[in-house]
C-alpha cells in the first residue's frame, strides 16, 4: 500500500510541476517609468470566443489592481481580427494611454514519461517476510509513467499608445492537460503579476 501511495505522490508532483505558465523570454524598456491611466486590451486569436475570454480576464485583473482597462471586442465592431488603424483610432477616442496585445502564436502537443527504472535485488532477498518466502524473482521496480500535455505559446506586448513604442513584452508557454480555456485565468495572472513585479501596473 505504501508503495502505491508513493507512486501516486510521484505522479501527482510530476503533473503539477509541468503545468502552468512560464515566461521563456522577457524584454523591458529600461527607460520607461510610471503607471498607465487606461489600458486598451487586444486579444489576437483566430477565434472570437477565446479572444473575448482573454480580454475580459485581463480587464478584470487589471481593474482589481487599480488600472482602468477596456476590452477591444466591447468597443470594436465585428468578430474579425481588429485592424491596427481601427485599434489606434479607438484608443485615441477613449483616451487610453497604453495598449496590451495578447497574441496567440502556436499550440503544440507532447508527451512525457519517466524512463523505466528497475531496482534489482539479489534472488531470494526481498523487502518483507511474506514475499521472502513467496518470491524467487529478483526485480522490484517502478514502471514508466507517461502522460500527454499541450503547450500554448503566447506573446504579450505592452505599448505606449502615444509613441507607439513597445514598453514590455514577454514570450510565454502555458503547459496544460485539460482544456485551453481553463488556462486563461492562470495565464493572465502570470502576465499581470509580472507586469506588477516590473512596476508597469500598480
Amino acid at each position: 500500500m505504501k508503495r502505491y501511495t508513493g507512486l501516486l505522490i510521484v505522479s501527482l508532483s510530476l503533473l503539477a510541476s509541468c503545468a502552468g505558465t512560464k515566461l521563456v523570454a522577457e524584454w523591458k524598456d529600461e527607460a520607461h517609468q510610471g503607471y498607465p491611466k487606461k489600458i486598451f486590451v487586444v486579444g489576437l486569436s483566430k477565434e472570437y470566443g477565446p479572444r473575448t475570454l482573454v480580454e475580459d480576464e485581463f480587464v478584470r485583473q487589471l481593474k482589481t489592481r487599480g488600472s482602468d482597462a477596456i476590452a477591444s471586442y466591447a468597443v470594436l465592431p465585428g468578430k474579425e481580427k481588429p485592424e491596427k488603424e481601427a485599434v489606434l483610432a479607438k484608443v485615441q477616442e477613449l483616451g487610453a494611454d497604453q495598449i496590451i496585445v495578447v497574441k496567440f502564436l502556436k499550440k503544440e502537443a507532447g508527451d512525457t514519461h519517466t524512463p523505466l527504472r528497475r531496482y534489482a535485488v539479489p534472488q531470494g532477498f526481498d523487502t518483507s517476510w511474506d514475499s521472502y518466502y513467496g518470491g524467487v524473482s529478483g526485480d522490484v521496480g517502478i514502471r514508466d509513467i507517461s502522460y500527454d500535455y499541450n503547450v500554448l505559446t503566447m506573446e504579450t506586448t505592452l505599448y505606449d499608445a502615444v509613441t507607439r513604442q513597445p514598453i514590455w513584452s514577454a514570450l510565454s508557454q502555458s503547459t496544460y492537460q485539460q482544456g485551453a480555456v481553463k488556462q486563461i485565468k492562470p495565464f493572465t495572472s502570470a502576465i499581470v503579476g509580472r507586469l506588477a513585479h516590473e512596476k508597469l501596473v500598480p
Binding site: 521563456v24 502564436l105 534472488q123 531470494g124 513584452s169
Partner: protein, 224 residues
C-alpha cells in the same frame, strides 16, 4: 627560495586561470566557429551603430538588440535598436533595404551590426544501458561492515545486477551569423559564424551569445 616560491605561486594561479578558462569556454553553449576581418579597415571611424537582429519573434528580437546596445553603450559607443525605427515585418521584402538605408542616413549611423539565423542541425547521442555486477557472497548494501562480513555465511546465491536503461537524446544547434558593415562604403568589415546548442528555449541563449560575440568584436579592435 623566495623566487622559487613566487614562481610556483604564479604557475599555480596561471594553471587555475587556464583551468577556469577551459571550464568556462568548454561548457558554453555558443562556440564561435569562424571569424573574418577586413585587415585593411582603419579603426576609429565607427561610433554610431545600428543593431539588427533578424529574428521571427518580436520579444527575442527586442531582447537581442537591446542587449547588444547595452554592451556598446557601456563601452562609450552610441548604438540604437532597429525595432525602434523599423517595426515588425519591415525587415522582409524588397522595400526593406531602401527603408533601412533611408533611416540610416537620417540618424547618422555609420555601422550596421546584423545577426541572422543561417541554419540549424541536430546531433543524436546514444548512451548505452549499464549493468553493475557484484560478486558472489558480497553482502548487498553494507559492504565493509563487520556485521555484513559476519553475514557472508548466508550470502546470496546469484550476483546482483542493478541496471540502467540505455537512452538516446538529440541536441539541436542553431547556426548564427553576425556581420558588421561600414555604412560609408557599404562594405563588410567583420563577420563571425557560431553554433549555439539549445538545451531549452532558444531565447535563453541570447544573452550568453551576445556576451561571447561582443567580446570577440571588441577584441578585434574595430571600434575607437
Amino acid at each position: 627560495m623566495r623566487n622559487w616560491s613566487r614562481n610556483v605561486k604564479m604557475c599555480l594561479s596561471g594553471g587555475c586561470l587556464a583551468l577556469y578558462f577551459l571550464a568556462v569556454t568548454g561548457c558554453a553553449a555558443t562556440q564561435v566557429k569562424e571569424v573574418w576581418k577586413d585587415e585593411t579597415f582603419q579603426r576609429g571611424r565607427m561610433d554610431n551603430v545600428l543593431v539588427i537582429g533578424v529574428l521571427k519573434n518580436d520579444t527575442a528580437r527586442r531582447t537581442f538588440e537591446s542587449e547588444f546596445v547595452k554592451y556598446f553603450t557601456s563601452r562609450g559607443i552610441a548604438a540604437r535598436e532597429s525595432f525602434r525605427i523599423l517595426p515588425t515585418g519591415s525587415l522582409e521584402g524588397d522595400e526593406a533595404r531602401d527603408a533601412l538605408v533611408q533611416k540610416i542616413k537620417e540618424l547618422g549611423i555609420n555601422a550596421v551590426l546584423l545577426t541572422r539565423v543561417v541554419g540549424s542541425r541536430t546531433a543524436k547521442e546514444t548512451i548505452p544501458g549499464m549493468t553493475i555486477t557484484t560478486g558472489y557472497g558480497l553482502p548487498y548494501g553494507s559492504y565493509g561492515a563487520w556485521g555484513a562480513y559476519a553475514g557472508v555465511g548466508y550470502s546470496f546465491p546469484g550476483p546482483s545486477q542493478p541496471t540502467t536503461q540505455g537512452y538516446s537524446h538529440e541536441d539541436t544547434f542553431l547556426v548564427l551569423e553576425t556581420r558588421l558593415f561600414d555604412v560609408k562604403n557599404e562594405k563588410l568589415i567583420w563577420a563571425a559564424q557560431s553554433e549555439t546548442r539549445l538545451s531549452g528555449a532558444p531565447q535563453e541563449e541570447i544573452k550568453p551569445y551576445i556576451r561571447i560575440i561582443a567580446n570577440r568584436l571588441f577584441r578585434d579592435k574595430l571600434f575607437p
